[in-house]
């Protein structure tokens, strides 16, 4: 898989949600870097690495969050 950048619309709306998703995203070794922009309306999650859209969506779903690729 090549290194790419993916963007998602999410419902990670607050610092508490951020704290919930951090362990999951941190633990995926394929992710080089990730970031949620809490200031945008769509709470855009940007992920870089050798990853696929499903991987990220599945991971977030396991801790109860919803993501949608854009």
């Amino acid at each position: 898989m090549e290194i790419k950048q993916l963007k998602f619309k999410t419902n990670i709306t607050c610092m508490h949600c951020l704290a919930k998703v951090t362990p999951v995203l941190n633990a995926i070794p394929e992710i080089d870097n990730w970031k949620v922009d809490l200031n945008t309306e769509d709470k855009i999650l940007t992920v870089e690495g050798e990853i696929s859209e499903e991987m990220i969506i599945d991971a977030l779903q396991r801790v109860g969050y919803h993501a949608e690729g854009i």
Partner: protein, 734 residues
């Protein structure tokens, strides 16, 4: 809300009763789940609910219970001045001797010189009130808690002798009389010297624990929500991603997500050779990243790491160690009440029998004076001093008297490998192909190694320059690249690639030709537990070297002596099985445990102990600290880590392993001398106390006048001292 933990320093705890008093005081507060006071470390650790109770109330409770606490410091060690309030320092001890020496000289050589009596009275009074006060404070606290120990016995005897002599001096009775100033002065000086040494040993162990804390870096880079932020290591949480730069100490335990490097994990494993680590591998706090940058996923944050485990386990076992005084305290615990009862009996019986108050009083006081634990006090220390002197002459030190007694009872001796049975220094043992190198190639390899900090670089460079007259080239040094986890690489201006790499890596490269000679060289040395390094030019292997550790000269001799003495030996190491078995075979150790983590070593020691064995552990590194602190007797090499030295009960200054069997022999002999001495001391008290009480007076008319009592006391002391001196003549026969 999760419970919080706080460790508060407490000053003024002197005995086991103080410990339970402090615990009880703190536990009485609502919201406190657990309180554990530690006498050796001088602190109390409290588990509490921060919503119900505050730290200030702990301090208040501790003060109410009669102890001092300066409040939260966050350190293991306490505020030094407050902790030492009840202990004797260097300067106080000096004053004890300045005051006690003239009293002793006057009493022994000029006892009929009357101005000397007044001088002795003043000096002894000063001694009791000033430098020796600590002892009377402790005695008072033992009395208050109804836990009589050595201090109380000493205080009782010295005060009785002092007041009796003082009153006699100012209101002399008719006839001959004797003054007893030198007895309390000398006894106080002696007992306080013991206390001083004990306190010193204890502070050393507290400092050892604190020194480990410095292995943790203060600031660390964390990636949070895509941003790199610098945080104190204590604020890094589980599941954080942290960045570890080259040459940084890793502050947490975790898994490598990105990067490849060499890690110096000698703190944990004791092995000097760095380990290659890559994505998915585990790294430990306290180890050092030598080459590439790493991204690490935190699995155990600061406070829960393996290193923290070592720190806590060391602190706990240091605290559990019984002070050497315990045996004497136990005796005193029985002796004090018995003496008091006998004194009381003497008083009542003589009063009812003769009605003569002054006679009853004289007998009572003589009982108290004669009960002065002089020979009893000398029995153990003189033997231990003689043993310590003998040990020092033979290149090793005992930490305390307890060790000297315990070492003789050892039946299993466990050894660490690297740095203990071996010198821990890597040396080139054998090489292939260096002689055929051209000067130019040799110089390139030499310059490459000179630019690196790898522990193998220096031995390899030294080996090269010994055979070939290499030139150091700055151009090469500037252009050397580190291939993280593999070695060094340099490409010359003619596009020739030079590499110095681990032989295991190039073995897998199909483009390189490896001939029969190389393979047999490699197999021979690998089975001896040696590390192979190769020099490669483009596609050709030019040379190979085998690096290894050097066995200490007297390792075999020491192990076989232990076997002759009926002591089992075993090897505990973090290294691999091949290297461990190869070395064990050479020195004659049959039982080998390899690939051990620090806590595994400790577990093995503890399981041996739980089977009823007395275990000695010899080691040198931080990785041995847990095992050392849980062993009955621990031995450290003088050049080992500070932590190992601070914990060790025996330090081998001369780094000679054969000192270990001798230490055991010396200890066995010392123990038998102490038993003989105690017999004499008790014998003296058993005979003299009834005499002093006037028990035989009604039948034989014989009683003990203070002069005879003094002579008997001297005789018993002389016997004890002479007997102890036999220890210093014990010879080391290899």
């Amino acid at each position: 809300m999760k419970p919080s933990v706080v460790i508060l320093p407490v000053a003024g705890m002197t005995c086991a009763s103080c410990v339970s008093a402090v615990e009880k005081a703190v536990k009485s507060l609502d919201g406190v789940k657990e309180a554990n006071a530690n006498l050796a470390l001088g602190n109390v650790s409290i588990v509490f609910d921060p919503e119900k109770v505050s730290q200030e109330s702990f301090v208040q409770k501790i003060i109410e219970a009669g102890y001092q606490s300066p409040g939260m410091t966050g350190e293991f060690s306490t505020n030094k001045s407050s902790q030492r309030a009840n202990e004797i320092g260097d300067r106080q001890l000096l004053w004890v001797y300045i005051l006690a020496t003239p009293v002793a000289l006057l009493g022994m050589f000029y006892h009929s010189y009357s101005p000397g009596h007044y001088l002795s009275f003043i000096l002894t009074a000063l001694l009791i009130v000033f430098p020796a006060r600590v002892l009377f404070v402790r005695a008072w606290s033992q009395l208050r808690h109804r836990a009589p120990a050595m201090d109380l016995l000493v205080a009782l005897s010295t005060l009785t002798a002092f007041f009796y002599s003082g009153i006699t001096l100012w209101l002399p009775p008719s006839g001959t009389y004797h003054l007893w100033f030198e007895t309390p002065a000398m006894l106080l000086a002696f007992v306080l010297t013991g206390r001083f040494l004990e306190a010193k040993a204890r502070h050393r162990s507290v400092e050892a624990v604190n020194s480990l804390k410095h292995l943790q870096p203060e600031l660390i880079t964390v990636i949070r929500n895509g941003e790199h932020i610098s945080l104190p290591a204590t604020q890094v949480a589980m599941h954080d991603r942290v960045l570890i730069k080259p040459f940084e100490i890793i502050p947490v335990d975790g898994t490598i997500l990105k990067g490849e490097t060499e890690i110096d994990d000698s703190t944990i494993t004791g092995e000097p050779l760095p380990k290659h680590k890559k994505k998915g591998d585990f790294v430990f706090a306290g180890t050092r990243n030598l080459e590439g940058g790493l991204t690490v996923l935190v699995t155990r944050p600061v406070g829960q790491t393996l290193l923290d485990g070592i720190i806590h386990s060391v602190a706990r076992s240091l605290a559990e160690k019984a002070p050497s005084q315990q045996m004497a305290d136990k005796i005193a615990g029985i002796f004090v009440p018995v003496v008091l009862i006998i004194a009381l009996f003497t008083m009542t019986i003589w009063l009812t029998a003769s009605g003569n108050i002054s006679q009853a009083l004289t007998y009572t006081i003589t009982v108290l004076i004669i009960a002065c634990p002089c020979a009893l006090g000398l029995a153990t220390p003189t033997a231990l001093v003689a043993a310590a002197g003998n040990a020092a002459r033979h290149g090793f030190l005992f930490r305390d008297g307890e060790t000297m007694e315990k070492a003789g009872k050892i039946d299993i001796a466990a050894f660490d490998k690297t740095g203990t049975l071996t010198t821990g220094k890597l040396e080139i043992k054998d090489s292939l192909g260096i002689e055929n190198l051209g000067i130019e190639d040799a110089s390139v390899f030499y310059s490459m190694e000179k630019s690196s900090q790898h522990p193998l670089s220096k031995p390899v460079a030294d080996a090269l320059i010994q055979v070939k007259a290499c030139n150091l080239s700055e151009d090469v040094q500037h252009a050397v690249r580190v291939i993280p986890g593999r070695g060094l690489s340099y490409t010359s201006s003619e596009n020739t690639e030079y590499r110095i790499v681990s032989f295991d890596f190039i073995r897998q490269e199909s483009s390189l030709e490896i001939n029969e000679e190389l393979i047999s060289f490699a197999t021979r040395h690998a089975s001896n537990g040696r590390t192979l390094i190769a020099g490669v030019k483009d596609k050709e292997i030019l040379w190979v070297m085998a690096a290894g550790d050097t066995l200490r000269e007297d390792a075999f001799q020491a192990i076989s002596q232990l076997h002759v003495m009926g002591i089992q030996t075993l090897l505990l190491t973090g290294d691999n099985h091949e290297a461990a078995t190869a070395l064990a075979h050479k020195v004659g150790i049959k039982e080998v445990h390899a690939r051990l983590l620090p806590s595994d070593k400790k577990d093995i020691i503890q399981s041996l102990k739980s089977q009823g064995n007395r275990v000695l552990m010899a080691g040198d590194g931080i990785n041995d600290a847990e095992a050392l602190s849980s062993a009955d007797v621990s031995v450290a090499m003088a050049k080992g880590s500070n932590l190992a030295l601070d914990i060790a009960s025996i330090t081998l200054i001369g780094e000679q392993l054969s000192s270990i069997p001798f230490a055991i022999k010396l200890s066995r002999f010392t123990h038998s001398i102490i038993r003989q001495n105690l017999f004499w001391a008790f014998f003296y008290n058993v005979i003299c106390i009834p005499l002093a009480a006037g028990m035989f007076f009604p039948f034989t008319g014989f009683t003990l006048n203070p002069m005879i009592a003094g002579a008997a006391m001297s005789l018993s002391s002389v016997i004890v001292v002479t007997n102890s001196l036999r220890i210093s003549r014990l010879k080391f026969n290899p």
